[in-house]
Every structure is written in structure tokens, then in C-alpha cells.
Point group: none
Chain length 252, copies 2
């Protein structure tokens, strides 16, 4: 890979993920630690990212937002990221993977490294990112919603209806015992429902704040598919037979 090309990718990855560890960059870009280190030093000198002990963090975010809170320990072990990484590790060769729209599933994208799988999504920005990682990506058709970049409507519905996925990953605004998985937008909910129904294995990624919340549209019952969360989830949800607690040791 060309030097400049690699540096550009480092920037891209860093900005996309807000923060990234040096070792991960080395693996992702198939270069030695020394090389990445040199790149980071240069990019730091040019004020294109901020180099921190163990990796780098995006500057865009520090400038626009008010949370310079990203610290070293967050590089790999932040709760949301842990859940995302666990989910991503489940993708096997030859899988046909459905990726739901939303920020939670978005966290997964950088960790989806299996290029012997096919990815299908209804989110234009997810598709863009995955394609740039070199994956085969199929994007659903339909009406594009500006805020979420999600495709919705009858075209989207019919497109997904005709497909069958071996595995699917979903976000959910609310998870409750009675109402199951819920989402605020009925249009997006309909798409979630049909996609969910067409997956053989289903995983809902949920940080603990999602539990006991109920949103407008229910797209699946709670006992359909697995919930991936972390140890801070309420006990009654952790005790469900289909709840998975993501932990670093689970991820190879």
C-alpha cells in the first residue's frame, strides 16, 4: 500500500471511529507497528489527528464537540465498542449479513473484517463505509431518510422481502419484556421487522440504557433472537436465556 494512501486511511478510520488503537491500525492496514507509529507522528505533527498513548483520536470531534473525554482506556474497551466488537466477531465465512441502520450497528462496521461474507444493509452510510473496507455490499432501494440515511418505504420492503440472511444485526431504541424490541419511526420499524423475519440468526445490539424503555413501533418479540449487551444490564434481562454479555475475553 502506498504511504500516502495508508495515511489517508488512518485518518479516515480515526475520524470514523473517533478513536483507534495503534495495534488495531496495524492489523487493519497490514503494516508494522513501527510504520503506523511513524505515520501517526507525522499526522499528529500536521495536526490531522491527536496521537495519544496507545493510539490516536480524531480531531474533528474534539473541535466540534465538547467531549475531550476520550481516553486511552476507551480505545478498545468502551462498553458500546465492546458490544459492537462481539457482534462483529460472529460473522463467519459465506455469511449473508444484514446490517440494520443506526448508530449502534454503525459501531460494528470497523470490526467487520470477514471479506468472505456478503453484507446487505438499508443504510447508505453503512454501505459506503463497508464498501470502502473492501466488502461486497448490497444496498436496498427506497426513499432515503435524511437524518438516519436509512432507506424506507414499499420498495425497500419488497427488496428485503425477497432476500434471506444467514445472520442479522439490529439496533433497538427500547427493549422491554412485554413490548419486545421497539423503535420510534414506524417506517423504519416496518423495515426492521421484515429484515428481522428474514434472518436465520438475529442479534440485537443494546447498551444497558435501552432496557425497560418502550418506543412507538415494536418490530419483534424479546424472545426472538439474541440480545448482546454488557454486564451493566438489569439482572432480569441478563437472566434471559437469549442474552449475551459481551466481554473482551470472548473476542479473539
Amino acid at each position: 500500500m502506498l504511504n500516502e494512501e495508508r495515511k489517508r486511511k488512518i485518518l479516515e478510520i480515526t475520524n470514523e471511529r473517533k478513536s483507534v488503537s495503534l495495534i488495531e491500525l496495524a492489523k487493519l492496514l497490514d503494516a508494522s507497528e513501527s510504520t503506523i507509529r511513524r505515520d501517526l507522528n507525522e499526522l499528529h505533527k500536521n495536526k490531522l489527528l491527536k496521537k495519544v498513548h496507545g493510539g490516536a483520536i480524531s480531531l474533528n470531534d474534539i473541535l466540534t464537540q465538547d467531549e475531550p473525554v476520550l481516553q486511552r482506556q476507551d480505545l478498545n474497551t468502551g462498553s458500546k465498542r465492546l458490544i459492537a466488537r462481539y457482534g462483529a466477531s460472529l460473522v463467519k465465512d459465506n455469511d449473508v449479513v444484514y446490517i440494520d441502520a443506526g448508530t449502534t450497528t454503525g459501531e460494528m462496521l470497523p470490526y467487520l473484517r470477514n471479506t468472505h461474507a456478503v453484507y446487505i444493509t438499508n443504510c447508505a452510510s453503512h454501505a459506503h463505509i463497508l464498501a470502502n473496507y473492501g466488502h461486497e455490499v448490497h444496498l436496498a432501494c427506497g426513499i432515503l431518510k435524511a437524518k438516519t440515511d436509512a432507506l424506507v418505504g414499499s420498495d425497500t420492503y419488497r427488496y428485503i422481502e425477497q432476500l434471506n440472511f444467514t445472520i442479522g444485526f439490529f439496533g433497538s431504541n427500547g427493549i422491554s419484556m412485554e413490548e419486545g424490541f421497539t423503535t420510534p419511526d414506524p417506517q423504519e420499524g416496518e423495515i426492521k421487522r421484515i429484515a428481522y423475519d428474514h434472518c436465520r440468526e438475529r442479534y440485537v445490539l443494546a447498551d444497558p440504557s435501552k432496557f425497560d424503555a418502550i418506543s412507538t413501533y415494536s418490530f419483534a418479540a424479546i424472545d426472538k433472537g439474541f440480545i448482546i449487551t454488557d454486564s451493566a444490564a438489569p439482572k432480569k434481562y441478563k437472566d434471559l436465556h437469549n442474552t449475551i454479555i459481551a466481554d473482551l475475553v470472548d473476542i479473539v
Copy 2:
């Protein structure tokens, strides 16, 4: 292979892949490293690509990143912009507008102000931008190509085949009397062709550099639809009955 022909191919490859190594170019074009090196030096001097250690990087890519640097007067009166603005001014209420993938059509997006029209495209980034301007946007399905963000393949073909557009805007890498409108990627070409066929009014946006160039895949004959260009176009093309010369005074 002719000198000029080789240089044109180097540019094509570089822009298509965003970055390419010198050795790869030498193999692809069956020329010595020395020759490619000389070509790259020249192309770099003429600001047609960026030569970096080990190969070359497309300028298109860098330009889109540096866009905010462009001067305001360039934005409105540059030849490409003028063509794009003229094209955009043709959209009427209730139009069903097809927007082709590509940088040329991308220039149009900021000038598309008619929110009483529906926009359909096969380019994820175009769709994203249009949706954020508040338009109703339909995006085609299919396989997402990383470099161009264009959707291609049989799904895309079928999706577009079932639609009818009142007006369509297209880019073209080459325009010649004999071969008509041509584009380098056959997959994208097929989509262009079917979309072109399903438009009532067709406009090809072309800066003067596109004339007398021939690319791989021909998606339409030159007398089908209108060409929008500027006064610097070769006379024989300006004399065509279906060529429109974009001029500031034409745009309200």
C-alpha cells in the same frame, strides 16, 4: 501503445482506483518503470494527478476533500459549475428526475432547488446530499462500488427498468460522433443505458475535455438527448442541433 494513449489510461486508472502503484501501472500498461515514471512526472506537472512515493493518487479525490478552499467566484462561474447550474435550472415542478452517478452530475446537486420534484439516483452519496437538502430521494438498490459510490448490477438494472423519468441528467467520460456517449466501467455503463432509455428528456453534462474522447462502454448515441457544455467545446459539436451552450444569462 501511443504515448498519449498511455497517459490517458494512467489517468483513467488512477482516477478510477484513487491510488495506484508505479509497478502496477507498468504491468497493466506493459511499459517499463522508466516510462511510467516519466509519464507520472509529466501528469503531475500538468496537475492531472498527484505523484507520491511509490505511485500516484487521484486529484479528484483530494479536490473533493479540499472543497471549502475554492473561491466563491469559481463556485458560480467556473465552466463546470455553469454547466451544472444550467442543467439544474431545467427541473420543473412534479418532475421525476434521474441523477446519474459521477462527479459531473454531483456538481448539480447544490443547484437543484425544486422541492416539488422527486429525485431518483443510483449514487449513494448523491442521494445523501439531496436528502439533506430536503428533497424526496429514491435510491436504487444493488451492489455498491466503493470508488464511485454507484450502485450497479442486476438488482439496480431491474429497479430502474420499472421506472419512468420525466427528465434525466448524465455524465459521460467520452463523447464522439461515432461512438456517442461512452464510460469506462461496463457495469456502470449498463445502468446508464437503461436509465437513459427510461427518460423522456435526457441531458448529458459535459465539459469540453470530454469531446472526441472514447471510453470502453457506449451507453447512448450522440443524437439521443441533449448535450450541455460551454463555449469552449469543439465547433463540430457546438453545431449539433442538440447541443446547448450553458451561459450565465440563461440561468434565472
